[in-house]
């Protein structure tokens, strides 16, 4: 019998306590923000969309190798002698034309592992986080500054250079052998 009334008492009492708490919260200002109108200030270490500063990129492929999901694709072409590619901001000399630097943000897991190995600190995470797209293909970002024609040109240049070099080498190899024949 005592338990019976105790049950009634505890039920009503705890319900009352709970109601008091929720009633108090009715007057506490909301902790949420109105997102698209108000945005939180992001901390400086924020990890969101990657950005590649191509002026500094030397095409060393280290970020691509560090990536656990292989979302970075890099292709490079060697420059031919006489071409000046300029220097990076920390004084490294660039020797490779970067003809492909794609990051697929549909795959990217924002782990920042690509940022640490970069020797010129040209790949880094920015605070842009609103970049949703309707098509998955649109999430593949191309960072190369060269135009498609220029890329083709560079490839051709290099192939031509290599062909010439090979021809020259062959000619150089051929030359000593050929000479005695002529005389004979």
């Amino acid at each position: 019998m005592k338990e019976y009334f105790n049950n009634i008492y505890t039920a009503l009492y705890t319900i009352f306590v709970g109601m008091k708490i929720t009633f108090r919260h009715l007057f506490i200002p909301a902790v949420t923000i109105q997102y698209p109108d108000v945005k939180l200030k992001l901390p400086e270490r924020e990890r969101n969309r990657l950005y590649v500063n191509m002026d500094d990129c030397i095409g060393c492929d280290q970020c691509s190798r560090a990536c656990p999901v292989s979302c970075i694709e890099i292709e490079t072409v060697k420059s031919i002698p006489g071409e000046d590619l300029g220097k990076t901001s920390n004084g490294k000399k660039k020797v490779l034309w970067v003809t492909k630097f794609n990051i697929d943000f549909a795959k990217c897991c924002y782990c920042q592992l690509c940022v640490f190995p970069c020797p010129t600190e040209c790949i880094y995470m920015t605070d842009v986080y609103e970049f949703s797209e309707y098509e998955r293909e649109n999430l593949i970002y191309d960072f190369v500054t060269l135009t498609p024609e220029e890329r083709e040109q560079k490839k051709l240049n290099f192939e031509k250079f290599m062909a010439e070099k090979a021809a020259a080498d062959a000619a150089a190899k051929q030359a000593p052998k050929d000479e005695p024949k002529k005389e004979a």
Binding site: N7, I15, M19, I21, T22, F23, I28, T32, Q34
Partner: protein, 357 residues
């Protein structure tokens, strides 16, 4: 007044009676449901340190209208294995049940849908339609979750009708009437004449009655809460267990009907509670219309007070919902059979004895 107008227009008592009873209620229920849904979301939001809907209109006041438009556009999905006839009737039946209950509720001294002498019992009887509708919905959905929800709901509503009726009996015994209009009229003038304060007659019995009236009020409030399936008694819907119970399979406007019925029901039971215990449409402090001697102002004031009391109890229902966890089926039954019904019985006896002396 309305009846006469339509009687002149159609020349038929039935049509005139029907329209005068039904139309104003519909005009009341629909906007009320809209406001109540918004209120629910706002109350929930603010109790949880959020803001609730904010984007449609100022502080989201048009949110429910946008929702209704969305629901109207939605595809009405009927699964292949459903029992189509029952599936389609169920939401209408549920809504009709709660809508019909409004007919006997006195909104002001000037307006009541149908002034029936057995008003309170009519309401309790006609809300039984809701059970039938819910069972139909659960069965016709051909979904195990829906079926479980429907069974639970039927069991729950049937067992909670008993404490409700016992408390109503207490009141009926004490006031001697089952007409809600008369019941409200009795508690006229100021708030200490309300039944919760022992009724209008000033005697020793009045003061003796107060604690028992409070107990009676608590019992009927709890059991009506269960009858309209609100937390902590929302086990037929039990979002986290049964997905959403008997209306899992419904979409579009049929779902909206269930929704509408739920909110209409919430107001109906609040109105009954306030009519039984809190003076119905009467103002607690007397009328401005009387002091200013403007007769037409009194019904307006009464309507205001009636809605105010109703919305207040609806608010408390929401407050409870956002505070409490939900009971289990067997605990729900325990609460009814082992706690509410015996206490209501004892209360009935005691009130009977007190009214005798």
């Amino acid at each position: 007044m309305i009846y006469n107008f339509f009687y002149n227009l159609f020349g038929s008592e039935i049509i005139a009676g029907f329209i005068s009873a039904a139309l104003p209620l519909l005009i009341f229920i629909l906007p009320f449901a809209l406001i109540a849904v918004l209120l629910e979301r706002k109350v929930a939001g603010h109790m949880q340190d959020r803001l609730g809907p904010m984007r449609v209109g100022y502080h989201g006041i048009l949110q429910t209208i946008a929702d209704i438009i969305k629901l109207l556009q939605k595809e009405d999905i009927i699964a292949r294995e459903n029992d189509k006839l029952l599936f389609n009737i169920a939401p209408i039946l549920v809504f009709a049940g709660s809508y019909a209950a409004f007919a006997a509720i006195p909104f002001t001294s000037a307006y009541i849908g149908a002034n029936i002498d057995l008003g309170i019992f009519y309401i309790i009887a006609v809300t039984g339609l809701v059970v039938a509708g819910i069972l139909m919905a659960g069965w016709a959905s051909n979904n195990k979750y829906s079926l479980l929800g429907a069974m639970r709901s039927a069991a729950q509503i049937v067992s909670y009708e008993i404490p409700t009726i016992l408390v109503v009996l207490t009141l009926v015994m004490f006031t001697g009437t089952t007409n809600l209009m008369t019941l409200s009229e009795n508690q006229t003038a100021l708030f200490w004449n309300w039944n919760i304060f022992g009724g209008p007659e000033l005697s020793l019995a009045k003061f003796l009655l107060i604690p028992f009236m409070i107990i009676a009020f608590l019992i009927i409030y709890i059991s009506t809460l269960a009858e309209v399936n609100r937390t902590p008694f929302d086990i037929p819907e039990a979002e986290s267990e049964l997905v959403s119970g008997y209306h899992t399979e419904y979409s579009g406007m049929k779902f909206a009907m269930f929704f509408l019925a739920e909110y209409a029901n919430m107001f109906a039971v609040s109105a009954i509670v306030s009519a039984l215990f809190f003076g119905g449409y009467h103002s607690p402090f007397g009328y401005l219309g009387n002091t200013l001697d403007i007769q037409w102002l009194i019904p307006v004031e009464q309507f205001f007070w009636f809605t105010f009391k109703g919305v207040f109890f609806v608010f408390v229902q929401m407050w409870l919902r956002w505070t409490l966890p939900r009971l289990r089926v067997d605990q729900l039954m325990t609460a009814s059979w082992k706690y509410l019904i015996p206490i209501a019985f004892v209360n009935l006896l005691i009130v009977g004895i007190i009214t005798l002396i």
